[in-house]
């Protein structure tokens, strides 16, 4: 079949690229089925996989084997930074750079500085909590091949999904979907470009 392209001199149709497979997405109807399926996927030896749900499932961390995050330690560092920052700010401004004598209070008055030190601690910890959480989750992640799936739109509604990435060593385009069907998936699709 000739196309317009073929008639142009010095130009040839590009070779069709083979579709890049990103992974397999399996849909489950409820919490029980996804929990048992998650245990099975983990015992089967898959490493690069995840469970997607509309709300955090109680017991899923143990099923997948999620290690506790280091976020609380980051928040602690943020809190200490806020504390020292608040203290340093007040010391520098009122007790060092432009010394301010107000009603006989000491230049560096720790009790009077406590409210602002406390607020700075809370502020920096909270900012660390939020931005740290999003950073560790690698969000914003605005392009995600999973979003190509129409079924996946219900992940934020009432359906549960298991995603096994093609990058996983045990992933195979034929056997992995069959395995997912066998452990109770209502539907399995291969996500590809």
């Amino acid at each position: 079949m000739t196309t317009m392209m073929e008639t142009k001199p010095g130009y040839s149709q590009p070779e069709p690229q083979p579709a890049v497979v990103h992974g397999a997405l399996a849909e489950f109807p409820d919490v029980d089925s996804i929990l048992t399926a998650a245990h099975t996927v983990r015992s089967a030896g898959y490493k690069v996989w995840d469970v997607h749900s509309p709300f955090p499932i109680h017991g899923i961390d143990a099923a997948i084997g999620i290690r506790p995050t280091i976020l609380p330690w980051l928040i602690l560092c943020g809190g200490v930074a806020g504390l020292t920052g608040g203290l340093a700010l007040q010391w520098f401004c009122n007790a060092y750079d432009y010394q301010f004598l107000i009603s006989g209070k000491p230049m560096f008055s720790l009790p009077a500085n406590i409210p602002i030190i406390f607020e700075c601690t809370v502020l920096i910890s909270s900012l660390t909590a939020v931005f740290g959480m999003f950073a560790l989750n690698r969000l914003p992640l605005l392009y995600n091949p999973m979003f190509k799936s129409k079924r996946f739109k219900r992940v934020t509604d009432d359906k549960f999904f298991i995603w096994i990435a093609a990058a996983d060593k045990k992933f195979d385009e034929k056997t992995t979907p069959a395995f997912l069907q066998a452990i109770g998936a209502a539907a399995v699709e291969i996500i590809e470009d």
Binding site: P56, L71, I75, L89, D97, P115, V130, L139, N144, T156
Partner: protein
């Protein structure tokens, strides 16, 4: 007997707008009624924005926009002409401006209490109302933040409040409560905003996935940050949420305490008292819950949220309203006792003046609205009546405004030396600015109801029976009788745990 109660709770869970306020210590009352399952919750909450808004919403938005216009005009007039357009004078240099500031900041605290403190106390019922309450907090703090900026004589120098290097090499006075306020309210606004937004990300993702137009898909998509419900993400999310709740909790208590220091650290009689921090915090929570009730009672009717914001939610909030009003009443009593018993004639006079002086009517309104009117909550019949409860909530807001009015105006207009005494009369600009601030609040809240998730869907879903697994024998048709979160392996639930009483 136990199975009968469980079956009763099941029947309640299936009825639309059921009365789930009954309590049995053996079973948790259903928090979502109307037979809603996980998809039902999504449908109910997303329906608020997806359906066309009820006419009452347009009326509310219209009125709010008019008041907002009035707000902007009054502020413009104030800045162009000067603080003299307000009723402020010497000695009463802090008039409506600061009354309004403390009023709005106080209202904000209920939202954070519901989100953070009730979360730490594992009160699952907070999931129905925490989104609206947090939104209320953000908008109340926005309204509050306007007043310190505009109440100064030269608002264009408001940046002096912040430690910004300037041409005079001057820094703010960090040992002053006015500066503590800047940091406290600033921190509170920031933390509330990020807490609210973080909570909304999964729900905005739901909006994104259900979006019908390209614009909605794009905008919700940006704000959802690509959230995809990954359990690894949820793990970090839950940790961050818990720690944010733990950080926001001391904020609820400390921010309004710092605001109270604006008064307590001064020497003015009626202000210089150590009761102020707990007094203000209790009052703030009372006023805040009054405002939450004012908003939630009509919202659940108008937007069809009765199955998610149930009668139990309203009942619990009413009880907190009563509890905090009792704390406020106790504080009033203690203030009077200390003034009468202590040997400070100025303090004694101040309280005599509050009841019998020129602003006695404000004191009467304050006492009636804050101490007397919430007592109706003792009666189950009265607190179940939504109209009566709503009126009591409105009284709560009015009473809390008058409390700040009494504190500020009576103490300042009648301080130590009678030659300094001078009456305070609000001008029309004062009154219009106050009304206008409700316009800002109302506009933001109406827009929130239209464009953002009004209920924390992901959190509400976690309190449904279907959210918990039971070794494989619970399916999507799970009934309440099958859901026993506190039971480990007790086969015979009918047997009384404490026999032979």
């Amino acid at each position: 007997m136990a199975t009968e109660v469980a079956q009763l709770f099941d029947a309640i869970a299936r009825q639309h707008n059921a009365d789930n306020t009954t309590d049995d210590p053996r079973f948790r009352a259903p928090l979502v009624v109307g037979g809603l399952d996980i998809a039902g919750v999504t449908r109910t909450v997303c329906g608020v924005s997806e359906r066309s808004m009820p006419p009452a919403w347009y009326v509310a938005l219209g009125i709010s926009l008019c008041l907002l216009g009035m707000f902007g005009t009054c502020i413009g007039y104030l800045i162009l002409t000067g603080v003299g357009v307000w009723g402020n004078n010497i000695p009463d240099a802090w008039g409506f401006g600061i009354v309004n500031f403390v009023f709005w900041v106080g209202i904000g605290h209920a939202g954070t209490l519901i989100s953070a403190i009730l979360y730490l106390f594992r009160q699952n019922w907070r999931t129905g109302i925490n989104r609206m309450a947090e939104a209320m907090t953000i908008f109340a703090v926005m309204c509050a933040g306007v007043f310190p900026g505009i109440h100064v004589g030269r608002p264009w120098l408001a940046y002096y409040l912040f430690p910004i290097p300037n041409q005079m090499s001057l820094w703010p006075q960090f040992r002053s409560p006015l500066l503590w306020d800047v940091f406290a309210v600033g921190t509170y606004a920031t933390v509330s905003l990020i807490f609210w937004y973080t909570g909304m990300v999964p729900d905005i993702a739901t909006f994104r996935d259900r979006a019908t137009s390209k614009i909605k898909q794009f905008v919700y998509g940006i704000f959802a940050l690509g959230w995809n419900g990954s359990s690894r993400h949820w793990h970090r999310y839950e940790r961050a949420y818990l720690i944010l709740a733990a950080l926001a909790t001391p904020l609820v208590l400390s921010v309004h305490s710092v605001v109270s220091f604006d008064f307590a650290v001064s020497q003015v009689p009626g202000w210089h008292t150590t009761i102020f921090p707990p007094y203000f915090v209790a009052g703030a929570i009372y006023g805040g819950f009054a405002m939450v009730l004012c908003l939630v009672i009509p919202a659940r009717e108008l937007f069809g949220l009765k199955d998610v914001i149930t009668k139990r939610h309203i009942d619990n909030m009413a009880k907190i309203l009563l509890a905090t009003s009792m704390m406020v009443g106790y504080s009033y009593l203690m203030e009077f006792f200390v003034a009468a018993y202590g040997n400070n004639k100025f303090e004694r006079f101040t309280f005599f003046n509050r009841v019998f002086g020129p602003y006695w009517w404000g004191w009467c309104i304050m006492t009636f609205c804050n101490v007397v009117s919430p007592q109706i909550v003792w009666s189950k019949k009265l607190r179940s009546n939504m109209v009566i409860l709503w009126i009591a909530a409105v009284f709560g807001n009015v009473g809390m405004w008058f409390e700040r009015f009494e504190i500020i105006v009576t103490s300042l207009t009648r301080d130590f030396v009678p030659s300094s005494w001078h009456q305070f009369t609000p001008t029309w600009v004062d009154l219009c600015t106050l009304a206008g601030s409700f316009g800002l609040f109302g506009t933001m809240f109406c827009l929130f109801c239209k464009y953002l998730p009004t209920v924390a869907m992901a959190e509400v879903k976690t309190v449904l029976p279907q959210a918990h697994a039971h070794g494989g024998h619970l399916g999507p048709d799970a009934k309440r009788t099958d859901y026993r979160p506190d039971e480990h392996s007790d086969p015979d639930l009918d047997a009384p745990r404490f026999a032979n009483r």
